[in-house]
């Protein structure tokens, strides 16, 4: 197992495929979860996959610089703030409707 891992060092493709799998899982969650918190969590997964892309490209294109990593940290910080705002909105919605089921939220229809 160790030899296998040592001889098959993952290249950029592998990392990008992983990022894409994460993104797809997130997208699927966003589109299919009916609980708003679940939707938010799925969004977080998508954000993480994007942040991961920064790190991957930084490592394989210009490993000397750290721009990508800084960007990823930025994204994590922004995602944290956004999660707070999102949760606050859900609390507000819950207080109003006693439900945070997104499939019942269709006011935009009117």
């Amino acid at each position: 197992m160790i030899e296998f891992l040592a001889s098959h060092t993952p290249g950029p493709h592998h990392w990008l495929v992983l990022s894409m799998i994460l993104f797809s899982i997130g997208l699927y969650g966003v589109l299919s979860r009916s609980n708003a918190v679940g939707v938010l969590m799925s969004v977080e997964i998508m954000l993480n996959s994007a942040a991961m892309n920064f790190v991957i490209f930084n490592k394989y294109i210009s490993p000397a610089a750290v721009d990508g990593q800084i960007m990823a940290i930025f994204a994590i910080a922004v995602a944290a703030a956004e999660a707070v705002v999102g949760m606050a909105i859900f609390v507000a919605i819950y207080r109003r409707r006693w439900s945070i089921d997104v499939s019942t939220m269709d006011l935009m229809k009117d």
Binding site: L27, V30, L31, V39, M105, D106, M108, K109, D110
Partner: protein, 644 residues
């Protein structure tokens, strides 16, 4: 003469002032301001006449003291607006401002309701008429021609709650618009050839629309030799005939006369000003203005003469049978305008007496016909009916009105020394002098008929016994209405002594003075007419009824105005509306509108169906968004391929 532009400008300013500012404030102030403005205008017109005739006494001179460019199409083709001062425009300015001022004064006493609106319209009319008279080119004349048409429309329909008044105003507008189509076509033809052949022949003219150019021999001879392809008319004859159609509509010449009798639905001062003295002679003025061009095309001028002669006879016969005092006067107006047209028609450049005679008759007619209408208005005001058979015995009740009406009736009948005698004498002399025996005979007959219908009114309305309660208790009109009557009576009595031949003429050899043979014949005809009226109508009605029975069908036909209105109704309603207008209307409503509605319906239905795609759920939108994105990515991928 620089101030000449003020003559049309003052009524315009007063129109704006009265219409926008004073009308809601006070009816007195509105009426007085409007009247004062026209009096100032009249004073300026007299000053202009005095200045003009003292400076160019014995020659024809057209002076253009002011112009400005109004429309510029291209280099050499622009339309000016301005004031033209020449003998006939000065004459008309004097006539229009005088009659208008007196009618304004009269209206202060006559009108009761809606004062401000009435004076606003009257001012608008006076402005338009003066603009028309002062026109320097045919386009300016056309613009003001339509403006007088509009003011006439507004004033005929002044009592807009009365159905007949509204119908009459529409009729007047539609009939004159129809004829104006001829005028406009004529202008376009003249303008086209005028621009094509334009050569600057004199310093005074500015473009191919100018009357000076249209009348110039250089232009008329050129287009007189070009065939138009319609009958045997040359371009000149065709355009002149078309222009005359416009003139005939405005002046209510025979087949287009039907609007004028109905126009009497308007207030009586309006009838006096617009439908007797000024606007209806615009057609005569137009023919006089283009006289050299008409004369260059002999057949167009002949048409003017015969249409005029026929109308004057036709209208005089109808006039005898009408019972409504204003309608008799309306037919009398038709007849007298026919006289003016006839006089223009018989004039030739070599023997232009008819030209002077026509303008002379226009001048005198304006005064006595306005007077007749205003006196009739005073009578209507007193007895509240238009029917002469409900009047009677007004001689003693309304002495001033009676005397002034009598003077006007004598003037129109052509009794010496009243005004009509002199102008009719000149018209008859010009017809006979140029060898038109038939026209002369018609004119002489009309002179007798004029006396008959006029004294028929006089004897029925003013003499004998009062026939109704209203007539018995009639009172003289207020002083403010009597002043214009008296002034016009004086003018009707003395206007004939104006030596018109010294002022208004075209070319040489103007006969100036009384032709004794003709004077005796005309006076005999007039006296005969008065005697006939006295015989049939003074004091009793049995003889008139007997005469009506003798003439039977002819009398009935004349009473029904020879069924011309019915004929027009038949042509328009049963033929044009039914077979042309309604199929077209059906096509428009069902096919054209249907097509438009169909496209609207399709759009609405599509929207209706697509509405269900909007669920309002973010996840559905997100799904479509992601799917779309994927699709786009696949398309791009397929298009550019993947580099490996």
């Amino acid at each position: 003469m620089k101030f000449a532009w003020l003559i049309p400008a003052i009524p315009l300013m007063s129109f704006i002032l009265v219409g926008l500012v004073l009308r809601p404030l006070s009816k007195r102030i509105a009426g007085l301001t409007a009247t004062a403005a026209i009096f100032v205008c009249a004073a300026l017109a007299y000053l202009l006449a005095w200045e003009y005739f003292s400076s160019c006494a014995h020659e024809y001179a057209a002076i253009v003291p002011v112009t400005f460019e109004w429309l510029r199409y291209q280099a050499g083709l622009s339309v000016q607006m301005g004031v033209l001062v020449d003998p006939i425009s000065v004459l008309l300015m004097v006539v229009v401002t005088t009659v208008s001022a007196l009618v304004h004064l009269y209206s202060i006493g006559y009108m009761h309701e809606d004062y401000g609106r009435f004076f606003t319209y009257l001012n608008l009319f006076t402005f338009s008429m003066l603009g028309l008279v002062a026109a320097v080119n045919i386009v300016q004349m056309y613009v003001f021609w339509e403006l007088v048409g509009v003011s006439s429309f507004l004033l005929i329909g002044f009592y807009y709650k009365k159905h007949s008044a509204v119908a009459a105003s529409n009729k007047a507008f539609i009939v004159t618009r129809f004829s104006d189509l001829g005028f406009l076509t004529g202008i376009l033809i003249l303008g086209y050839y005028g621009f094509k052949f334009f050569v600057d022949t004199s310093a005074g003219q500015t473009g191919p629309f100018d009357f000076a150019y249209l009348n110039s021999a250089a232009f008329t001879t050129k287009i007189a030799s070009m065939p138009s392809g319609i009958f045997d008319f040359s371009i000149l004859t065709l355009s002149m005939v078309l222009v005359f159609i416009g003139a005939a509509g405005k002046s209510a010449m025979f087949p287009l006369h039907i609007w004028l009798p109905d126009a009497m639905e308007g207030p009586t001062p309006v009838s006096a000003l617009i439908h007797a003295a000024t606007m209806v002679v615009a057609g005569v003025y137009l023919v006089a203005r283009l006289f050299p061009a008409f004369a260059a095309s002999g057949s167009a001028l002949m048409m003017v003469a015969y249409v005029g002669a026929f109308t004057s006879l036709f209208a005089a016969i109808i006039g005898i049978t009408q019972d409504d005092i204003k309608r008799v006067l309306a037919f009398s107006t038709l007849s007298q305008i026919g006289y003016m047209m006839l006089a223009l028609g018989v004039a030739t450049p070599a023997h232009p007496l008819g030209y002077t005679a026509s303008m002379f008759h226009l001048f005198t007619h304006a005064f006595f016909k306005a007077l007749l209408f205003l006196a009739a208005g005073a009578v209507i005001h007193a007895v509240s009916t238009n029917n002469i058979w409900e009047m009677g015995g007004l001689r003693k009740k309304m002495p001033v009105t009676h005397i002034t009406f009598l003077i006007a009736a004598l003037a129109i009948a052509g009794i010496y020394p009243f005004a009509g005698f002199f102008s009719k004498d000149e018209i008859l002399a010009s017809a006979l002098g140029n060898g038109h025996t038939l026209i002369f005979a018609v004119a002489l007959t009309v002179a007798a008929l004029t006396a008959v219908y006029m004294f028929r009114i006089y004897f029925v309305a003013f003499t004998g016994k009062a026939r109704t309660h209203h007539a018995l208790h009639a009172h003289e009109a207020p002083k403010i209405m009597l002043i214009p009557l008296i002034v016009l009576a004086i003018l009707s009595a003395i206007a004939g002594f104006v030596p018109m031949g010294n002022f208004v003429r075209i070319g040489p050899n103007v006969h100036n003075g009384i032709n004794h043979t003709i004077a005796i014949a005309a006076s005999a005809a007039a006296v005969l007419g008065i005697a006939a009226a006295w015989f049939f109508y003074a004091g009793q009605t049995a003889r008139a009824a007997g005469a009506a029975k003798t003439f039977g069908v002819i009398y009935l036909a004349a009473k029904q105005k020879f069924y011309i209105d019915e004929l027009y109704m038949f042509i328009t309603k049963s033929i044009l509306f039914r077979f042309v207008a309604s199929p077209i209307a059906w096509f428009d409503r069902h096919i054209v509108d249907g097509g438009v509605n169909l496209s609207g319906f399709l759009t609405r239905m599509t929207g209706q169906k697509l509405r269900f795609a909007q669920t309002g759920q973010v996840q559905t939108y997100g799904f479509w968004f992601a799917g779309g994105l994927l699709l786009v990515m696949l398309v791009i991928w397929a298009a550019i391929g993947v580099k490996s």
